[in-house]
Amino acid sequence: MPYPEEMVAPMRAELADNGVEELRTADDVKNFLERNKDKNAMVIVNSVCGCAAGAARPGILLSLEGDKKPDAVGTVFAGNDTEACNYVRSLVPQAPPSSPSVYLFKQGQPVSYVPRHVFEGGYPEAVAEHLRNLYVKL
């Protein structure tokens, strides 16, 4: 059962208001990856969980302040954008479902994956450093 939209709206907005593209359907995700197939892209699986997403969202935004970062950033919301989320997860089938999580793509292909436990109990600065270390490999 999806979370009430009014509950997740502020968590969506925390990313969307900072330039992250919302991907609500599987077609949105496909189109996003197709549009950016010649670039680097990141898809964030957003979550209501304060234990992990509370640090993930500000950490991700902090990581995007650097020079080296994905060319395009999109997001789906776990538990609400179910179809979109399932499609993203299908692209890395060896990864169990995890939210929040981050998928990095290079020329349309998944190259890095960050599961939920990396974000848990962390600080935004640590999340940002972890992600920046992945961005330099893109």
Binding site: G50, C51, A52, G54, R57, A95, P96, Y113, E120
Partner: protein, 92 residues
């Protein structure tokens, strides 16, 4: 912003690896840890040698990719716990 439960202890919401005094290791999101047991949600259990993997190999795979939440809830009695560690701290 999100949901927080400050009364649940330091490991609440954290994915932990619970090694037992026997051959099993559990991975799951800690709900609470009491003097009597640790309570995990969305957990998985691996026995030494299961699927051709040692427990250490299983834990390393989980550290890279996460774990499959095959067991909705499980408790491990304190008398059977050898160690409790955060999964995030075990990646090589």
């Amino acid at each position: 912003m999100g949901t927080f439960h400050s009364d649940k202890g330091a490991l609440h919401g954290i994915t932990v690896v619970v090694r037992t005094t026997g051959s099993a290791v559990y991975i799951g999101r800690c709900d609470t840890q009491t003097p009597h047991a640790i309570f995990l949600n969305d957990a998985d259990k691996h026995e030494e040698g299961q699927d051709g993997k040692t427990n250490d190999e299983y834990v390393q795979t989980a550290a890279q990719w996460g774990h499959w939440p095959r067991i909705p809830q499980v408790s491990v009695p304190a008398s059977e716990i050898a160690s409790v560690e955060k999964l995030a701290e075990l990646a090589n």
